[in-house]
Symmetry: C2
Subunit: 497 residues, 2 copies
């Protein structure tokens, strides 16, 4: 098929742009000098816009429409590719290169204003940019040919197709009740957990060595990746054979790095185990955020915070971190990494309260998008919700509404984190039916788990939409119940309720 | 002037490509995972070729020719820009995008073959690529409109205009005699220098901290740069406000990193102090390699290996590297970093024998380019020259002819290193007339030196060709005498001859 060849040629060129942009973005977040960032950001905007021009060119549009009309003649993977492209075509066909450049500038400015507002603990420095982001996202939706009637659903759909606000309202309502109930039982428990050693000094080079040990243990392949540092840890899927992990070392909070590395390593292991054919057919980036978070949070929590994993790594922990931790038993380490305590910061939250942080953001997004609250009043609402759901007072906006980067351009992203937890709780039940994964952890056979994930979870992640994917693995649909059950069992044992 | 505006527009776009390529190349050399390199290299080739297409487009050629004809109407800096572009236009106007892509592939393949040959200590794995590189460079020269009659001069001219083989033959002949004479006196000396502590273990994190101390001390600005690791250290002029230094830490050879960092830091300090107007007028990368090496080797040797500098850094050296070096006196450290001993590896050579390594390469390049020796016989000639000039036997090609990367695409580069030494010896005399720079070093006032360099050495480096530049600073022309005098004085004191 000549048109398919033509499409592949263009996709190959677009992939070169994405590759270059991936490298530049990684550079920007990890090593670019302070005074070089503005310039680097402009260069990225330029190439992103060039890429947009190719992807949205008349020739490309024609190819997509023509191939979509002949979809039944295509192979299964090519049909998925053309479906993806057609859906994106409907979203973007009315967007001009000028508007594309404009929106990128709005997001870049929002990022800079957000950094400054956070640094100065002054929300008013971000207010106008936040409004501009909301306006830009609305404008973008108004240009879509396939817009959904509910404004916010369009943004949710960008990150997690098939899981829209009707579903989410029920999901979060049940999740919230369940989490608050477990939290209540924990707070009523009089079991004391030792946490004093968590703030002991561990120099960066020791943390770095331990991080590499953990990544190797979990099956991360350093020949197809790298580990380096950044301000806000992320994983970058730069190209085939290039999935990189970043972290942030705090010398007086070693646990922060450990779980950051395990979490990001989970994303990277997912990337390193996508089927080769998905890459060859240009559908390798079709995984949703919820699916991705299900895997990263599986590694972080289901594996990383399990009794069996602590049993596995404890000897190496003592060996590498030295005598300063000689007074800490395996059980004390396990309990310490599972302390539940309502707090201000999402990324530092425990497994139980984490979901409440997400629910607050979900509610805030709906309120702001619909105009029910004005952006200038957003901090007030934020603080009110934190008091109501988590019982904490927000001392200033830098640890409140300004803590996360997402609202500089990605409304609708937050729910993915909570959905991810629910997904993995559902497929972990299925895994447990196949083999004793807890034994695999304490035996150090993490590869048994990765193999199962590869065959069951990773294989169709690019090829199916979330609901169909989850059903194909488990025969079930999205529900917070298995996750709540997992939490209840785990913390009943720890907190003895 | 409309045409100048048009030119600037195109140069701005070309600068974005160079910026992207600079970031990718830095990524490739510092962090790109092993299995991702081939792909990354292909993406770089793609964008390099796109850049070539723009720079060599009919529109661009027309603009250059037209502006060159009206050069007298341009400002001084724009006239330099147009001169540079016109010279390059004559070199490249007959090169097709296909040939450009082809030559990049030859160089990329040569690099891969070289790595493999070096790793396997087997020159035959590199032989064919070496021949292909030579053939490609010859073919490229045959396409030039402004080719010089002597083949090798064209390659020399790419790196150091105005300093061609006639000049160099005399220069190197005098340099060789002088170096051999000094070396003879050193070898005849019975002064013993202690070097036992040079191989003591210093962990990487300590070396890294000390490297940052040295760079800060020398005036390197980390807000406009970064320090990271690589296999073969280099400095990268990625963009305005972005001059990055790389190094390689050997835990049992801390001195290697110290002088690598000071050397590369010298390049970067040069880059960080180019006049802003040079950047605005797109002449900021016009500095030759010889000029650049004059500065980096000035920092490495004239400053870094001086008695005064060792006096300055000794207390911090003892403080940071700890008790293991408590038995090493300041004088012993000074002498140890100045041990002269003929050896196999150029990059590890001392100040005296370094030039002999360069002369061998210069002679080899002329022999290979002219066809007087065949590439398969090159190792034999190499080994013969090492025995003759340095008195050392080459055990295998990985530490012989395969030690340097340059012949994978940059014939004519090596002489710059030796020329750089000669340049800085000439302008250091001039500096010494203005102020006591040795006192400035021991007082820790390195900025007095950078200020002088900025005003005298850096200012016109983009604007003048080497001979004119050196004359404008010193009123002198290239000669090895001041460098030989500097060496003789320094080593007569150390080795007491």
């Amino acid at each position: 098929m000549e048109k398919l060849d033509e499409l592949y040629k263009k996709l190959n060129i677009m992939r070169k742009y994405s590759h270059a942009l991936g490298i530049m973005s990684f550079d920007f977040e990890t090593i670019a000098p302070e005074n070089a960032r503005e310039n680097e950001s402009e260069t990225m905007d330029y190439f992103a816009n060039e890429l947009f021009k190719i992807s949205n060119s008349d020739e490309m549009k024609e190819l997509i429409v023509d191939l979509y009309a002949e979809k039944d003649k295509l192979s299964a993977l090519d049909a998925i590719l053309v479906d993806n492209l057609y859906e994106n075509y409907l979203k973007t066909k009315n967007i001009t290169p000028e508007f594309d450049l404009e929106r990128n500038k709005v997001y870049s400015k929002a990022y800079i204003d957000w950094l400054s507002a956070k640094g100065n603990k002054d929300f008013t420095l971000f207010k106008d940019s936040l409004q501009a982001v909301i306006d830009t996202q609305k404008k973008e939706i108004s240009l879509r040919e396939n817009a959904l009637p509910n404004l916010y659903d369009n943004l949710l759909n960008d990150f997690e197709p098939q899981i829209l606000s009707d579903t989410l309202d029920n999901f979060f309502s049940e999740l919230k009740d369940g989490l608050l109930s477990i939290l209540g039982k924990i707070q009523a428990s009089d079991h004391a957990i030792r946490g004093d050693f968590l703030t002991r000094y561990v120099p960066i080079h020791k943390q770095e060595k331990f991080s590499k040990y953990l990544l190797n243990l979990n099956g991360y392949d350093f020949k197809r990746g790298a580990l380096t540092t950044t301000e806000h840890p992320f994983t970058s899927d730069i190209a085939k054979n290039d999935a990189r992990v970043t972290t942030h070392y705090y010398e007086n909070l070693f646990v922060s790095n450990i779980y950051s590395v395990i979490h990001e390593g989970g994303h990277a292991i997912f990337m390193q185990n996508e089927p080769d054919e998905d890459y060859e057919h240009f559908i390798n980036d079709s995984i949703t955020n919820g699916m991705h978070e299900s895997v990263s949070r599986f590694y972080e929590n289901v594996i990383g915070r399990s009794k069996e994993y602590i049993h596995l790594i404890y000897p190496e922990f003592i060996k590498q971190f030295g005598d300063e931790f000689g007074d800490v038993s395996e059980k004390e380490l396990y309990e310490a990494v599972n302390i539940v305590k309502p707090s201000l910061i999402r990324t530092e939250a425990d497994e139980v309260t984490y979901g409440l942080h997400i629910i607050i953001r979900y509610e805030m997004e709906k309120l702001m998008l619909s105009g029910k609250i004005k952006v200038e009043d957003a901090p007030k609402t934020w603080n009110k919700l934190y008091k109501e759901y988590l019982g904490v007072d927000v001392p200033d906006d830098s640890v409140g509404i300004l803590q996360d980067v997402h609202w500089t351009g990605a409304f609708g992203y937050f729910p993915s984190y909570a959905i991810g937890n629910a997904y993995n709780a559902i497929y972990t039940k299925k895994m447990a039916e196949s083999f004793d994964y807890k034994k695999a952890i304490s035996d150090g056979n993490i590869s048994l788990i990765s193999d199962w994930l590869k065959e069951n979870v990773f294989k169709n992640a690019n090829r199916k939409k979330p609901k169909d994917w989850l059903y194909s693995i488990t025969g079930e649909t999205l529900s917070p119940k298995p996750f709540l059950e997992y939490l209840n069992n785990k913390y009943a044992e720890i907190y003895k309720f």
